[in-house]
Structures are given as C-alpha cells and as structure tokens.
Symmetry: C2
Subunit: 627 residues, 2 copies
C-alpha cells in the first residue's frame, strides 16, 4: 500500500482531482463553480501524535498516518439565479464527504478572480455606465479603465446582494501605451455590479470638491482629468531615465544555499526545521517549527489576506503555480560581537537569516510578507507595504483634510493597514501560558529601593482568552511559557518573548461598519484557546460582512481557560498611512516587524557557535573596517 | 598662500600639533596632560555662508575660509596634587588661544584610557584590596582580574573627589588561557580608586544573597566561584565547536562601490552628499547632509557616547587611527514594487543603503552605531546592543527580582540603555519648524463623519523649546518643516518626518541621582534653539555628575522660540534590558531604529529612478522567486 503523504503537506494535484470528483459525483445534474480546493489540516491531536513519533525517530513504513482531507469551496448551480455556496471537507482516501457547510444570512463566499474580471466586462456592456462616462469627454488618446474592487459593506438595500465595484481611471494609450500608470488620471465614477446578474446596477458619483465643497461631484465636463499629469514608473517610461551610478552588488553562494528541502515540503536550515504549505487565504503557512529538534511553534501564518485565486480554476482544475513563495538566505549585519579590550581579541559573527517571502498584489497595492529565521533562534514576521496608493480625483487647487494631493488632480486618501499574524505556539509542547511582563518604577524607599535606581519587573498570567493591548511606557511584553519545564540556568519557565510594535489600532468609530466587521483591530494581541479550523481573525466570511462573525473576538469571548493550555496568539499591528508626495507614483516600502525571541528557552545564546565572520565568506566591506 | 582645509574637515596631524604647541608654550614650567585635541567647528553662520558658496559653485581659490579652530582638553600640573583641568579653543592660523574654560564645582573632566588602565595597577599595589581578595581563596589556576569602570555619582564624601572603581572577576588561566571569558566568575568586591592619589581608598563588598537576603555579602570563603561555570565564546574554546553547515554568502561589487570620497572627507553616493568627521565624544559626525543638492541636515551625531580616547595620547601627540569608521553599501530587500495585474508587467527595485558604521566597546558591552542612507532619501539611525551583559555573583540556588541568573552563580542585572541622537536639521535652509502630527478618531456625526470612517489628522506647531513625548496610540509623529517653501504638488510645507520608537523612558525615581543626572532621559524628543557648541544631551561634564548641567533639559528650559528658527532635535530611545539566559555569554544584537523620511520634501518618490532589480546585479535569490 502506498504511504499517505505527510499530514502537513499540501494536497497533490491528484488528491485535488479526487476531491473535485467526489463533489462532482454528488451533483450530477448541476453546474458547479469551484472556488478553492486545498488541504484541510487534520486535527491537531492526530498531527501532534504523528509528529512525536516522527521527531523521536519512531516512524516506520507502517505507522498509521492521519487521513488526507481536502476542503472544497464551491457554488452549486453556478448558472442559476440563486447558486448555493458550500464548503465541503472531503476524505481523499475514502472518497467521501465528511461534512458540508453552507453560508447563512449575511454570509457571502470569498471572491475569486473570475468575478473580479467580470466587473470590467460588465462595465463594457453597461449603457448606464457608458453614458455617464461619455459625459466626461476624455482628452484624445485616453481610454477609461475599470479597476475592480470588492464592495465593502455599505449596501444600501441591505438584502444580502453580492456586489462588486469598479474604480475608474483613464489610461493615455497614445503616449503611455498599455503599461502606462492609469492611476494618475482618476475619473469620479464608481460602477456597482450585482454579482448574480453580472449587471451594473448603479453608478456612483465621487466627490471632487475637496475641503471647500466636500460633497460636490463632477458629473460631466471636459476638464475632469485635464489638470492631471502623467506619473510613469516603468524604467523605459521615466522622463528622466534611470540613474546610472549604481554599481552592481552581487550576492553569491559559491557552495550553494545552507538550507535544504526534504520530504517534499520540509525546510532545514541552521538547526531550524519546518514544513511549508500555501493556501489562497493565508498565503505561506509554516508548520511544526523547531529549533535543534525542540518544538517552538505548531503553526505560523498571516491571518486573513486573500491571495491570487488562480490556484484553483472555476472548473476545479488545480494549476501548479510557480514562484508563489521564495526562499533565500541573507546577511543582516553583525549578529553578536565582543572585544576583550585588554588583549584586543575580537569575536564577531554576522547574522544570517533564512527568509520565506511571498508578495501579493491587491489592485494598486502590494504587500511583501517575510517570515525570517535567525541563528539566535529568533523569528521575525515582517510586512512591507508598497505599490501605488489609492487616489481619487480632486478639483484643481483644492486640498482635503482626509488626504494629500500626491499628483495634480489626484488625492491619496488617509487610510490604515492592519495586519494579523496568527501564531500557534508549541513551546516544548502544547500546554502553554501567556505572561504579561512590565517594567515599572518603584518609589524610592529605605527598604527596597534606597537609591531609587531599582525597578520592578511585574509578571501577570493571562488566565482567560482575551484581547489585550500594549503599553510601551511600561515596556509591556508578552511571553509564551511552558510552565512545566524549567530553564536549568535561571530556574524560570522556558519561553519565547513576543515583541509587537505598538502601532495605532483602528480609528473608525465603534458604531461604524468598519469597526464592527473588524473587531480584531481593536486590540494589539488576542489570546484564544486552540479550536480546530479557527484560523481567520476577521471572521470566516468577510466579503460585505457587517459584523466580524466567527473571528478572533468571538473566539476570545468564550473566556476559555488559557493557563497551561493549547492556546493561540493573534498579534495585530498596522500602519496609519497619511500619504506623502514621496509615496507617488510607487511608494517606497514601509516596514513593520513582529519579533519572537527565546526567553530562557535555551541554556545560552543559541548563536554562540556561529562561525566568526571571517569564516563566513562575507566580503561586504569595501572600506576600512574592523568589524 | 596655502588654502585652509574645508571648515567641516577634521584637524590634520599638523594642525593638532600646532594646537598642542600653542598650549605648551603658555605653560612652560609645568607638566601638561593632554586629554583630547580635535576640531572646534566654526560658528554655523560662517559655515553656512561658506556652504552656500560651495554648493552654488561660487567657491574660488581666493574665497575666504572660516579660521581653523582646535579644542584642546588638558590638565595643568598633571604631576601635582591638584592639577587644574582646562579646555581651550586655539586659533590654528593665529596660533593664539581664543578662549579657555576651566571646570567649576561638581565638574570633572572626562576620562581617558590612561586613567582607566591605572585602576588595574592601583589594585595590584593595594594591600587593602589584595587582603580582601585573598580571603576568597580562588580555586587553582584562577587569577583575579580587575575591570575598571567610571564611578558614577555615589561618592559618600561628596567632596568632588575623582574616583574610579573596579569590578572584579576571576580568569581560569590554566584551562581558559588569556582570552578566557572571565565574566563567568564574578568576585563580590569593588575596589575604589582616588584618581588624584591613584590609591585604592576603599573596597566595597557586593551582596550575593539574592532575594532571600538581599544585603548579605560574602567576605571570605573558598566557594565564592566554585558554583560558577566556564562560558567561553571564542570559537576555538567552545566545547561544542562551531557549527559547520553554514555555507558562504559573499557580497561582491565587481565594479567597486557606488560611493566616492572626495575633498578629504566628503562622501557622495546616490544623490546624497555629506562630510564625515570623528571625535572622541560623539564618534562619527556627519555634516552638511544633502540629497540631490538640497540641504536636509546640517549635522547628525549620537550625543554623548564616549569612544576610545587613544586618538590623542597624554603628551598631546595625535595618532592617526585606522578602522574607526567603516563605510559600505548593502542590500536591504525590496525597495518598491508594483505589478499591473492586467498586463502582468512588474516593476521592482531593490533597496540599496549606504552605511556609516562605528562600534564602541565599553568594558563588557558593545554598541554598533549605523547611520544608513537610502535611495528614497530616507535616513536611519540604528543602534545595536551586543557584548557581554554585566553580572554579579549570586549564591547557589538563589534568584533575585532585580536580575536573572544567566550562568551558574552569575546574576545579570536588569538595566536600561538610553541613547540620544542629535539631529540638527536644515530643511532647505536653517529656518525650520517642528509640527506634531496625530491621527485622531472623530465621532460619527451626520455632517463631517456620516459613516464613522473619517479620522482627523491634527497638526500642532511646537512654539517653544521643550521636551515632548510620543503617543503611539495617536500615531504621533513629528515633522521638521520649512514653512517658507511649499511643495508644488501638495501645497504643503516641505519637510521631513521623524519616526522615533516609543520606547520606555528612564525608570529611576525622580529623586535618584540617576534621574537627576540624566534629565534628557525623561522625554522622547527635545526641541531646542540652536546654540553654538551645545552638543551634549547629558551635560558638558558627566563624570560623577550629580545633575545634568548644560544638557538638553537646560537648553529646552530657555523656552526659546523655535518657530521658523534654527533648531535642533534630540531623539531619545532605548532598551529596558531584563536579561535572558540567551544573552549569555555574548548577547545577540538588540536593534533600535530612528527614521527620517521626506514628507512632501520632493515632488515624487526620489527612488523612482532606481534601476530595476535585474539591472542591479543582485543574485540574492537561490530558489524560485518572482521578485
């Protein structure tokens, strides 16, 4: 009998086909639209038992493996007026459906690229839209371009209709060509498509008046984009050309990379090991992360980012995609250093990092996500925001308090990006505890602080699932500890420290739709008790959601015990982005980092055995340097 | 007539010798001890006038240059019981003293390495110390080692005596050799030296009792370090050896570096230009920092770190030192990226940085300071803390709330590192203004916020010099603006944004010596009006200081107008360091960054003309990657 794949490996193309066929066979007389097919991870208890055998070297050819499960998202009756959306879990081995869930009131299935593309076609067909567009009389050489977007939650009829919208720009085909930056020419129209009928049901006028007349909309006229200016970013289109004084800086690894990939998706690098999978909702997911054989995290992912859905096509065929995730090593400067000033003997190592990187493009914007692993057993979760800021048309000479004019006639609106990283720890086992640690002043007093230079390090155990906030003035940090295991040197529980940047939380009013549907954005850290398949901070169905349902706030509200429990951390961090002119036409990266560092997990600096920098082959220095 | 050097260039060896000789000639019959000789920067008005000519191409061979000035720090009557400390400014051209300042009550001159070394010799000579040491009966093969330190401010006699202290450790000469890590064996004694008599005047016993008996000191016994353990960090001494699976990662620049150094100390790189000098109190100092010819900063430095004083020897001879500062380029990942999802055309650049790096070793500890310049016209001020944490002896089995046992018998004490970067801006000229910007919620209301998704960006001008704090919950940032110049695109004043990490401020009680002598550490940002030679946040004389005198708090207290003025920013950031076992024996770097980014200073992303990454020669990717 052929052995099942590792339980933490992505579905193979063959497994996906089995899942698709199981669903098809149950719906012989209807057209199905497949949204996604990917691995449904087996229950943690099963996986943990398997991993225990795997890492203790007890795995044999006959060791039973958890059954392979697929989650299949699909629409039944895709060509009918009211298709039904379903999510089934399919047992690949048994070729049976294990369970099926359909959307309830207020729940819409997540979008796929096919729907997004349809917005463009619907606008082409729409008399309503074409009439409104014609009233603007674009300059010669310009053509309108529709940029599809999900609709958000402001459905005025509120009857659960599935909508999409378009933002409209003009592209200068004549002088700019197909790849010209059309965002520089915003047209103040928003067509709205009913996803069922695929018709444009209304076209909104967008205000262009700025602060002096905030609700004034242009509805016609020749001059809607006459005051706008080209803003090319492709090298061959730049009026000034590209700079020519940047000399090559080449990284070479003459002996190859230090990492290896074994058993399909297991990465091994510098005492780290982990499994890598990918799914369309979270992107790269890392599983069973260990250092020197010791368990650190069970699972690490970005919660709730949607990725290009081309992995599954609407017929349920899975395409193998290339270049979705890249893996590389990089140098990040000095790792640790000490010089004995008496003898002059210096010891210095450089900090090598393994980077798991993936990038998503969301219309105008892009996010770069990096999971970085270092030799000192630290993990960095990094986001870089880049791409083109969203702009709307603004009348000549006007400004607005809700944005900044970044190009003539183009107002970039103030906005926030709020990210959630889901961290499922397994600090030498599943039973973990969160300890909040603060450093607090102690008033001078003769008994415990006679000189006034003592401060208290106060630890508070989080007993119940909850959302909690940072307090940088108190140097508040959180530790995930395994209290059953004691560091042999310090006598304290082994653990990892979680360092979250104390960025601003959601600014929207508590009564706004934005606030209600993104309850996750109201705290810096959520701690919940582990529950199977509870993966999405913003709720299971986010498209046009009016509340965050089955999200992290609901999970926390269970008030589960999280002391010595299998728990999950959700770190919330973001960017309040009030655009600068320098963010145009493509913005330089804005970078945020969450750090996980061992805290009394090891018996010494885990990077102490990194070879000295002279033995690492780095020749980064080009002037005199003692480093 | 030979032309004078550029006013922002370090003194030459010849100029230093002239300054020394001028001072010597005024003190013919006494022994002088020279502490430092380095450039006294000419008044800003003179330099600014000169720079204006220089950058407008109007400099000729006959353009008058500001006179060259040296500051000479020296002791008069160095061999007498009461030497007098003086600081003179010498006009090199005229060979005259311009002014002299001597220390007043409570003011002590800064230390030099010669004094530091003397502590070791004084301990060797001291019967008092040797008697106490002998009572501990070190194990065979061990020798005591004295680590000299400045004394701080806790002089019990309070008569202004200049003291130094020693921390005492034992080195295992037999098995560890000369380069062994002696910090693993702390001996609970602190000898105190009178710097005038160079005698050990007292030896303090250090408590080893831990939390159960916090004031209990061992004063004799064989077992003082018997419970300690070796903690080697040099590669050849590691019991486990170094790891052997790290493959070389080599950075090569086949065409050389992209930067050039012209006119002695002027660095040019990717539209940036700046002058570099070095002095023993601030380390690397960058002057006249411009991007694309436009002035950004007049001067940038770390305020108040002492560096190796070997630049001037006690006889006033200046030694040219090598490798004090290093300069290199590095790659820092994606700089900006956008993909047009319709056409699939991606534009991606990598972010190249110029790094000006210097490193100081302060006994056990080291700091790495990096000034980084990027192609998007941003400046990053980075500190990396590494080295060996300071430890004291603790009895077997004990712990203490004021630290962590990081090695058997070695307690690393909780402490703070607080840094100040002094930023003297010149945003297209000297007349600048600081604007505090916050992003604040606005309650939902029918007029200005009908959907509850609007937030207010509130700007407040700082009118008077002051210390101000961060408020990350409000996304508080500060902008330095030149309000006389308007961005042609946005219509807003040109400026730079200053992003300071909201780290914890000083924890010591307000009445403690630590708090009084470090008033600078009580705010995240100080804004003062520019004053000649006002460079040191912690005050001019910090050794054993009891208050911060002539420091940044005093400067701010003048309540000068700072609107449209020549002003200075002092950013305060730090690390509350409660040591982990993983910080031992040498700690992995802990990194902090301050960012300066243009904010409506340019008319678009200044990095838009960076060549695409494929043209930059980078071959950093070793697996599939679309970046």
């Amino acid at each position: 009998m052929a052995q099942l794949p590792h339980p933490l490996s992505a579905l193979t193309v063959e497994e996906s086909a089995v899942a698709r066929d199981v669903i098809r066979s149950l719906h012989p007389d209807t057209v199905l639209l497949f949204r996604q097919i990917y691995l449904y991870e087996p229950p943690k208890a099963q996986v943990a038992e398997f991993l225990e055998l795997e890492h203790s070297g007890k795995l044999t050819d006959t060791t039973p493996r958890p059954p392979r499960l697929a989650q299949v998202w699909f629409d039944v009756g895709a060509r009918e007026k009211t298709p039904k959306y379903a999510e089934s879990i399919v047992d690949i081995g048994l070729k049976t459906v294990v369970s099926t869930r359909t959307t309830g009131p207020g729940q819409l299935s997540s979008l796929i690229m096919d729907e997004i593309r349809e917005v463009v076609a619907a606008c082409d067909r729409s008399e309503l839209f074409q009439d409104k567009l014609r009233q603007f009389q674009l300059p010669p050489g310009f053509e309108a371009i529709v940029e599809p977007w999900p609709y958000g939650a402001s459905d005025p009829t509120d009857d659960g209709t599935r909508f999409f919208q378009g933002l409209v720009y003009a592209v200068n085909k004549e002088t700019g060509g197909d790849d010209s930056n059309f965002y520089a020419y915003p047209i103040p129209l928003i067509p709205v498509m009913d996803a069922k009928t695929r018709e444009i049901v209304r076209v909104l006028d967008v205000a262009t008046g700025g602060k002096d007349d905030p609700y004034q909309s242009k509805t016609c006229g020749q001059n809607v984009i006459d005051h706008c200016q080209a803003a090319e970013y492709l090298p061959e289109k730049l009026p000034q050309g590209i700079r020519n004084d940047l000399k090559p800086l080449t990284v070479i690894q003459p002996e190859g990379a230090s990492f290896s990939i074994v058993d399909g998706n297991r990465i091994e690098w510098q005492k780290w090991s982990m499994r890598l999978t990918f799914n369309p909702r979270e992107g790269a997911v890392l599983h069973d992360i260990r250092y020197d054989g010791r368990s650190v995290l069970y699972r690490l992912s970005m919660s709730d980012m949607y990725f290009d859905g081309l992995v599954t096509d609407p017929n349920g065929d899975v395409q193998e995609t290339k270049n979705v995730i890249c893996l590389h090593e990089q140098d990040n400067g000095i790792g640790w250093k000490h010089t004995d000033w008496r003898t002059g003997r210096a010891a210095v190592t450089r900090r090598r990092e393994l980077v798991v990187q993936y990038i998503i493009t969301l219309a105008n914007y892009e996010y770069v996500f990096n999971f970085k692993f270092d030799q000192a057993a630290g993990i960095t979760i990094e986001t870089r925001a880049t791409g083109i800021v969203s702009v709307v048309n603004i009348n000549p000479g006007q400004t607005a308090p809700w944005g900044n004019v970044v190009s003539p006639g183009a107002l970039a609106q103030n906005h926030q990006h709020i990210f959630v990283a889901r961290i499922d720890p397994a600090i030498d086992g599943q039973a973990n505890t969160i300890v909040q640690e603060e450093s607090l002043p102690v008033p001078m007093n003769p008994e415990t602080n006679p000189h006034g230079n003592y401060y208290e390090v106060r630890q508070t155990v989080l007993k119940s699932s909850a959302g909690v906030d940072l307090a940088p003035q108190n140097n508040r940090v959180f530790k995930v500890q395994n209290r059953a295991k004691t560091n042999p040197v310090s006598g304290k529980p082994i653990g990892y420290k979680v360092i979250i940047p104390p960025t601003q939380l959601l600014l929207a009013d508590a009564e706004s739709i934005q606030s209600k549907r993104a309850a996750f954005a109201n705290h810096h850290l959520w701690v919940t008790k582990y529950k199977e398949d509870e993966l999405y901070a913003g709720g299971r169905y986010t498209l046009q959601s009016k509340v965050e349902a089955e999200g992290v706030a609901d999970a926390a509200a269970r008030a589960d015990n999280v002391e010595d429990e299998d728990l999950v951390l959700w770190t919330v961090f973001g960017l309040t982005h009030n655009p600068r002119v320098e963010d145009w036409p493509v913005m330089p990266v804005e970078t945020l980092q969450v750090h996980l560092v061992p805290s009394d997990f090891f018996s010494q600096n885990p990077a102490i055995d990194v070879p000295p920098s002279k033995d690492q082959g780095s020749k980064i220095w080009t002037t005199t340097c003692a480093c």
